[in-house]
């Protein structure tokens, strides 16, 4: 498994990674919301010169139905070149694919044929619960001590959630990551600043708070997650928590600057209880502490109650529901998915405290149901999991949020799709009119991972 020279997809710095060749394949988590059929990991051809461009060209079944594939990640990435913990001769080859509902993890081998990935190992929920004390695995990141996986529930499916470690070659569950979790109870995403030995985690809720969908009483009572937590990466201790305040609910995707000398990152807050707006916050180093600042607020749009789902009729407005964001590898552009209104936004964040809107398009949306040049008729769902290529020129996104939540906002359920956007390095973007993947019925697409790495897969130790 080990190689004599480093894996060619590892780059010491984000600057060098941005020169990586264009990806030819995208891997997409695809789950069956009815939970009767097996979930699959789909392979989409993203090479514009290929005759099967924008088609699903391969797939691999998970071992049993009911996993709810959601987020996933590589066994190894550019952080393997870090000087303090080098593993340069491990291959980026395996995708670590958790089932958010089943707590089962499948290890998928993408070699020798990237179009025909194979399941080579299945880690059952009991093993994770016994060795790490967690369930509902979510975010997967390759890092200094192997594979880090955030988990939303403890072994009993309650709180606290946390993070556990896996070996990046044997996939053995090594155990709970935290030595001291301090006041942290909720988990969701996790990532880090390798240059500052700091881990950041965000909050959703415990499994009983989301597995049957969002609970309106909990949301209106501000009971879902609203904090960020900062940790010492190597001492594994909780350092600081920042409460976004009662009005802010669901603090989700963490996008730290890729340049390890920059101590800031972006996170989205899905909804404000005051006016249904979504917001983007920047966290940053302020002396010896971390601090946060709201830098973008995206308002709800007034809407005809007849076009809104039951939960929103009284508000007569469609919330933007910013459920995912992604930062380009050069830390220049932030992409923002508004799953409610259907907007997809591009901000120039060269100055992280003063984002400038440089691009906007609309597809799907609760009210607008905007179509695509290649689609037949109106589309449901909206921009959701977004992934940016390493050179920052191509952006892919899919339209499903979570099996139990999709029908709460899109009554009648979703039909899946995946699209691609071409971005101008100077700012501005447009949908690729040739790229529309109508997802096979019975499954819905979630996270996208690009061959060789992407903007949310790799972290770097060198500027």
């Amino acid at each position: 498994m080990a190689t004599w020279t480093p894996d060619p997809t590892f780059y010491p710095s984000p600057r060098l990674a941005a020169r990586a060749p264009a990806e030819k394949f995208a891997y997409v988590a695809s789950f069956a919301p009815e939970r009767k059929r097996k979930d699959v990991l789909a392979v989409v051809d993203v090479d514009p010169r290929s005759p099967s461009y924008a088609q699903i060209v391969g797939k691999v079944d998970m071992s049993r139905p009911g996993d709810e594939l959601h987020h996933f990640g590589w066994n190894a990435c550019s952080s393997c070149l870090c000087p303090n913990a080098p593993h340069p001769h491990v291959e980026r080859r395996y995708l670590v694919v958790p089932g958010l509902r089943s707590s089962r993890i499948h290890i998928v081998d993408t070699k020798p044929d990237p179009k025909r990935p194979r399941v080579v190992k299945v880690i059952e929920p009991d093993e994770i619960a016994d060795r790490a004390g967690y369930t509902r695995p979510h975010t997967v990141h390759c890092g200094p001590e192997g594979i880090y996986v955030s988990a939303l529930g403890n072994a009993d499916g309650k709180g606290p959630g946390g993070v556990f470690l896996m070996d990046h070659e044997t996939f053995e569950v090594r155990g709970r990551w935290e030595v001291d979790r301090g006041p942290q109870e909720f988990a969701y995403d996790m990532w880090w600043h390798l240059g500052y030995d700091t881990v950041v985690t965000s909050e959703w809720g415990t499994p009983d708070m989301f597995e049957e969908g969002l609970v309106p009483e909990l949301l209106l009572g501000s009971k879902y997650g609203r904090k960020l937590h900062f940790w010492d990466l190597h001492k594994r201790r909780h350092l600081q928590e920042i409460d976004f305040g009662k009005e802010h609910q669901l603090i989700f995707e963490l996008r730290p600057a890729h340049d390890p000398t920059k101590a800031y990152g972006f996170v989205n807050c899905v909804i404000s209880l005051e006016d249904l707006s979504s917001s983007i916050w920047v966290w940053y180093r302020d002396g010896e502490q971390w601090a946060v600042k709201k830098v973008v607020s995206i308002p709800a749009e007034p809407a005809d109650p007849d076009l809104l789902p039951p939960a929103l009729k009284d508000f007569k407005a469609c919330p933007p529901l910013v459920t995912d964001i992604d930062l380009s590898v050069d830390d220049k552009f932030l992409y923002v998915s508004c799953w409610g209104t259907g907007d997809f936004l591009q901000y120039d964040v060269s100055d992280p405290f003063a984002p400038k809107l440089t691009g906007k398009l609309r597809i799907g949306g609760i009210v607008s149901r905007e179509t695509h040049p290649k689609a037949k008729g109106k589309l449901n769902g909206g921009p959701q999991m977004v992934e940016v290529s390493r050179d920052g020129r191509r952006i892919y996104f899919t339209n499903s949020l979570y099996g139990a939540i999709d029908p709460q906002f899109y009554t009648g359920g979703l039909e899946g799709w995946m699209v691609k956007v071409d971005a101008d390095p100077e700012g501005g973007m447009a949908l690729d009119p040739e790229f529309f993947v109508a997802w096979p019925k019975g499954h819905l697409p979630h996270q996208v991972r690009l061959e060789g790495g992407d903007a949310s897969s790799d972290s770097y130790c060198y500027p």
Partner: protein, 185 residues
């Protein structure tokens, strides 16, 4: 790999001086690891005879090689990119010890410092051993310094992508080879 850590810290702080400053604790940590092993060998040499010492040291080298094959890639990471003087010293000490840097000097130290039956330390073996360790450390530091500055100033990071061959695997052969040499000798 001390040179790489020094380069990284130099790049983080944007200064060549940071590269050179980092090399001091990295050199000291390495030397400390080597001194401890050398002292242990000399002490052991004063209670057991030469052939027995060769066998013990040879076996230790072989065991270290086996350890590397089985577990060498799984080290707990204790020092991060914000490491200061103490952190770098600890890191360098741990890396040198884990790699068996001191053990590798044993085949050279035994004939230098120890000869004859147990207890018969050759005259002035301590100064000789310290001299050997000092020479080894100075040479290591010089090589580390030259590589670090060359990569920092001229070669650049892209070199890592192709040029970073798996020295750890070669090192296993070096450990085992030195062990066999002692056992056979």
């Amino acid at each position: 790999m001390g040179w790489l850590f020094a380069v990284a810290l130099g790049l983080h702080r944007g200064s060549r001086a940071a590269v050179l400053h980092a090399l001091v604790p990295i050199g000291l940590g390495h030397a400390l690891s080597v001194v401890i092993v050398a002292a242990a060998v000399i002490l052991l040499g004063s209670v057991i005879d030469g052939p027995a010492l060769n066998r013990v040291a040879g076996a230790a080298l072989m065991l270290w090689a086996i350890y590397h094959v089985l577990r060498g890639r799984r080290h707990r990471v204790r020092v991060g990119m914000r490491a200061g003087f103490a952190g770098l010293l600890l890191w360098s000490f741990l890396v040198a010890s884990a790699h068996g840097a001191g053990l590798m000097l044993v085949p050279a130290l035994i004939p230098l410092c120890l000869s004859g039956p147990a207890g018969a330390l050759s005259s002035g073996s301590l100064p000789v051993a310290l001299g050997a360790v000092g020479l080894h450390t100075a040479a290591t530091l010089l090589v580390t310094c030259v590589i670090a500055l060359a990569v920092y100033e001229w070669i650049g990071l892209a070199f890592l992508r192709r040029g970073w061959v798996d020295l750890d695997r070669l090192w296993v052969f070096a450990l085992a080879g030195a062990g066999i040499w002692l056992l056979a000798g």
